[in-house]
Symmetry: C2
Subunit: 155 residues, 2 copies
């Protein structure tokens, strides 16, 4: 995915989008590097991180949290399971549902990795002072939620 390049006014929506996209991409690549030492992609890392901080979860619950479709989580959990970092077990309440939980190996891995990753991200955001971060978050949430709402109501 790439995005349009041209725009006249500096506050034209397409220009905002271009800058946003480039920033997201650059930061994403930093995040990717930080994590790829473990042989993980960002999605797999995110899944482990959810399991670490929220405990065992049903497949589709994880999917909602990390913004992946059901096909993509299934694939991610498959990858993690084949490396024995997580395992699926039955849900005693709902036989359709599969609960994913960290194995001992997986827990060790993500515990070590998460600290390092958080530090790496602090470094890639080091130019932004706390006030600036708060303001950035406010603005991003404002557009982001508006944009997300637009997606919903046009089905």
């Amino acid at each position: 995915m790439a995005i349009p390049v041209s725009s006249r006014r500096s506050e034209a929506a397409t220009h905002v989008w271009l800058v946003l996209w480039k920033a997201a991409r650059a930061i994403g690549q930093n995040a990717m590097r930080s994590v790829s030492a473990l042989g993980l992609g960002l999605s797999d890392f995110a899944v482990l991180e959810v399991l670490l901080h929220k405990g065992p979860q049903a497949v589709n619950v994880i999917g909602k949290k990390v913004l992946l479709t059901s096909a993509s989580i299934t694939a991610a959990v498959d990858r993690l399971e084949s490396r024995k970092l997580v395992q699926r077990r039955a849900d005693s309440k709902d036989r359709r549902s599969r609960i994913v939980q960290l194995t001992k190996t997986g827990r060790h891995l993500i515990e070590r990795a998460f600290q390092k990753h958080a530090m790496d991200m602090e470094e890639t955001m080091a130019v932004l002072r706390p006030v600036e971060r708060v303001e950035l978050i406010r603005l991003l949430k404002k557009v982001g939620m508006w944009a997300a709402a637009r997606l919903d109501d046009k089905q």
Copy 2:
């Protein structure tokens, strides 16, 4: 690609990243919708848009502008060429280089499409007032450029 979900302080770097990522995703999906009516993906649209506003360009020059690797532009140009929206021709100065230019059909398509797309994007950014957009851009450029620089100097 998905991203970690948890973070304690609201200005923690991982939290900024989470919000940025979600906003980029929501806006990106709006952009995608705006363009998919044409049967184009965002990358293909971006390539056409560059050709419209900057004139015929060498393949890798387009690649740099829309942030795609050489493999990806080749693929994008192949797609566009098979739909007869662009064509490749030789560069008289450099025989390695291939210049991509819009066909008549391609030009008509992108001219009509670009206006609509710019308007759609204005709508998906409508919540942000001009001052806010300027501030958002400033902050995004600050992190974005810092993050990009970090990528470069670690090879």
